[in-house]
């Protein structure tokens, strides 16, 4: 079953509900905690406060302070504690309040979480999840808008995912919690309430490493992940209105990423535009662009195009201008189409 089929199947079933992305996350946490006593949740303000975005609302009331608790204000302590718990057999899910605040926990992430299995030859492992809201569009300035996922995709030993739909958010979070590896789980905060969609009532997971074709098309492959996805759809709509058939792909997972799906798509369409909101230099999409031209060179009718964030700190006043919007994406597509 391809990802597109999977999505259709979901919509077809009567056993679904429409929820938003943040509810999907809360549900995933709730269900996994019910399923497995080893799952514990912690971070800044995740307890009585329910998290600053309310992702953990109600969970402390349900599962008690032993399983859902607030920590001191230290990301190094939070990530480090998760590593130590995982090594001792728990399944910790740690929240970092904003992805912008992973910095103080950076060395714990790259030196401990990412390397535990490797450096010990598999004697010790650190299956854990770091959940964190990321991305712009909320007028949060430098420290509530950044998209630091590329740092983590450049760190072997970590898996990195970023859903854009409630279905994927719930399914990927469950997969992350059940998996045997450390997963950095980025949540596109501007979609928390804006992204609504169906989720099955039954238990399911979304495999880490699989992309999804959101709509099929023949003229151009438009590839993104996370917060930019609705804008990809808008651009595809706009181009569709002009008679251009755009294939929209949501990567969902960055490490590992679904190269097969992407290459297959570009081999079909001959054109690719990659969209992300992180600064461009050493952006994860550089790897996707590299791979496409390396492996689908002869299919390419135009250079791979890219719309990324600007190589500047995230500004406050120009919050919306900074982000790739549908216009900028459309323009990049047009450039590829007119090449």
């Amino acid at each position: 079953m391809t990802a597109t089929q999977e999505r259709k199947a979901v919509v077809a079933t009567p056993e679904t509900r429409t929820i938003n992305l943040i509810t999907a996350i809360t549900e995933a946490l709730h269900e996994e905690m019910e399923r497995d006593e080893r799952v514990v949740l912690f971070g800044q303000d995740v307890g009585a406060r329910g998290g600053v975005f309310m992702a953990t609302a109600g969970l402390q009331a349900t599962f008690g302070k032993k399983r859902v608790f607030d920590t001191p204000l230290s990301e190094a302590a939070i990530v480090g504690a998760a590593v130590g718990m995982a090594v001792r057999g728990l399944r910790p899910v740690a929240e970092i309040q904003f992805a912008d605040y992973m910095g103080p926990g950076f060395d714990q992430i790259i030196s401990q979480a990412a390397k535990m299995r490797y450096r010990s030859g598999g004697q010790y492992t650190s299956p854990m999840v770091i959940r964190t809201p990321s991305g712009g569009g909320v007028k949060g300035g430098h420290h509530h808008s950044q998209s630091p996922e590329s740092y983590y995709t450049h760190t072997p030993g970590l898996k990195v995912v970023m859903p854009s739909t409630p279905y994927d958010a719930k399914g990927l979070l469950k997969a992350a919690i059940r998996g045997e590896d450390p997963v950095i789980f980025f949540e596109p905060k501007r979609l928390y309430r804006a992204s609504k969609g169906e989720v099955p009532n039954h238990d399911y997971t979304v495999r880490i490493g699989e992309g999804a074709i959101r709509r099929e098309g023949t003229d151009l492959s438009l590839i993104g992940y996370g917060g930019v996805m609705p804008d990809l759809e808008r651009a595809a709509d706009a181009l569709g209105a002009e008679g251009v058939s755009v294939e929209v792909i949501d990567l969902r997972s960055l490490v590992p990423w679904d190269k097969e799906l992407v290459i297959g798509s570009v081999q079909k369409t001959g054109r690719a535009v990659l969209v992300s909101e992180a600064p461009r230099i050493s952006n994860f999409m550089g790897e996707v662009a590299y791979s496409i031209q390396a492996e689908a060179f002869d299919s390419l009718l135009a250079p791979v195009g890219q719309v990324a964030g600007f190589d500047i700190p995230y500004p406050y006043v120009q919050d919306k201008i900074y982000l790739p919007g549908p216009n900028r994406i459309t323009a990049a597509c047009v450039q590829a189409l007119n090449y």
Partner: protein, 382 residues
């Protein structure tokens, strides 16, 4: 009202570090619990009271601005005015250097940063000296050596140590002041900066504005240490403990500690015990009720530091009349309104400014990105 003379050290008495109880000069009833130093004349106290009230009303007006959608964020210092105004008076503005945090606009006002600049920052207008780059409450003021604020908690502590090291290296008589909340003391960077300051005997005054909450985490959830100032022992510096709602006590202790630092003894830590009577920020306005009791908030509302000064003035026979007080308040409201109009009139920075100040010169890749955006932004207007 807002410009301070270079600090004249108040006569320093027997202020000791590591006291069990917070040092206090004025009781909650407004009566001195130890002799009031001569410097606190009714005139001086009235002046200080004016600074506190101005900051309080500035805070209140920000809520209105937010409700009107003219700004997007506030972080109030209501209830913490004695701490910030008291601290300001141990600083020589524009001479000493300050590495503040996001809740320090009362400190900024007391140091003489023009309200116009603060309002401009909050609105992200063209008159913002920081050019609209940061979210509200991340101020910077060049003239006052009030260094630009980073949201990242405790991030300012190692740099503050560095500035103090530079001051020592340059042989100046400046000192550096570094402020932070109680929550900040849990961060690794806090420790790194404090320890470095101790080891380097850097002339830095560290001030913890212990308002007892870090969003929803209270001090007991934050650390198992008895209090904050005892942590100074880990760095070989004195730790002073002061009633942060007692203006006189804060001024006396901070001045004492600052003089000690100026004298070349190395750094010092002051813990001001106060309380955040409002929500953490606008984003916390409703949630706040889930994590702390109304009784606790009420209790601390009853310990209002502005009111305490008013009670003291009354005790000294120089009460502030209710009409006088009301006039002061409406003067501040007018001042805010005027500055808002002035700031808004300057407009907001456009897309061009995004690419400036990333580097001293604009490298080619940013020129290309700017050109792309120009086409998008101006192309659309054709």
């Amino acid at each position: 009202m807002t410009t301070l003379p270079l600090v004249e050290p108040l006569p320093v008495t027997g202020i000791q570090p590591f006291t069990k109880e917070p040092i206090r000069y004025i009781g909650e009833d407004g009566l001195p619990v130890q002799p009031l130093p001569a410097a606190y004349t009714p005139e001086r106290l009235r002046e200080l009271h004016g600074v506190m009230l101005r900051a309080r009303e500035f805070d209140r007006k920000l809520i209105t601005l937010l409700r009107q959608g003219r700004t997007t964020f506030y972080a109030q210092s209501s209830g913490m005015e004695a701490t910030q105004v008291g601290l300001a008076h141990s600083v020589r503005p524009g001479h000493d250097w300050v590495w503040p945090y996001y809740r320090d606009h009362t400190l900024a006002l007391a140091l003489g940063v023009p309200m116009f600049e603060l309002i401009s920052q909050v609105l992200g207008s063209n008159s913002d000296p920081s050019r609209g780059r940061q979210m509200p409450h991340h101020f910077a003021a060049r003239k006052q050596n009030f260094v630009s604020i980073s949201s990242s908690i405790a991030n300012q502590v190692p740099p503050a140590t560095g500035t103090a090291m530079a001051q020592k290296y340059l042989g100046t008589d400046e000192i550096t002041i570094c402020t932070f909340g109680d929550g900040a003391t849990s961060e690794g960077d806090w420790h790194a900066g404090m320890n470095m300051a101790g080891a380097m005997a850097a002339p830095c005054l560290f001030v913890c504005e212990n308002n007892q909450w870090a969003i929803s985490t209270n001090l007991r959830g934050q650390t198992a240490s008895e209090n904050i100032h005892i942590k100074a022992k880990a760095y070989g510096m004195p730790g002073f403990y002061v009633d942060g709602n007692d203006l006189v006590a804060v001024m006396e202790v901070c001045t004492h500690a600052a003089e000690w630092v100026r004298a070349g003894n190395g750094p010092a830590l002051v813990e001001c015990l106060t309380y955040r009577v409002g929500s953490h920020s606008n984003a916390d306005a409703d949630a706040e009720k889930h994590y702390r009791t109304r009784e606790e908030v009420q209790e601390w509302l009853g310990r209002d530091p502005v009111v305490r000064v008013e009670k003291l003035l009354e005790h000294l026979g120089h009460p502030i009349g209710s009409e006088e007080r009301a006039n002061m308040i409406s003067a501040v409201h007018r001042e805010v309104d005027e500055q808002v109009i002035r700031a808004e009139a300057t407009g907001q920075p456009d897309w061009r400014i995004m690419f400036e100040d990333v580097y001293a010169d604009m490298p080619a890749h940013l020129r290309e990105e700017a050109a792309m955006l120009r086409a998008e932004q101006e192309g659309g207007r054709k």
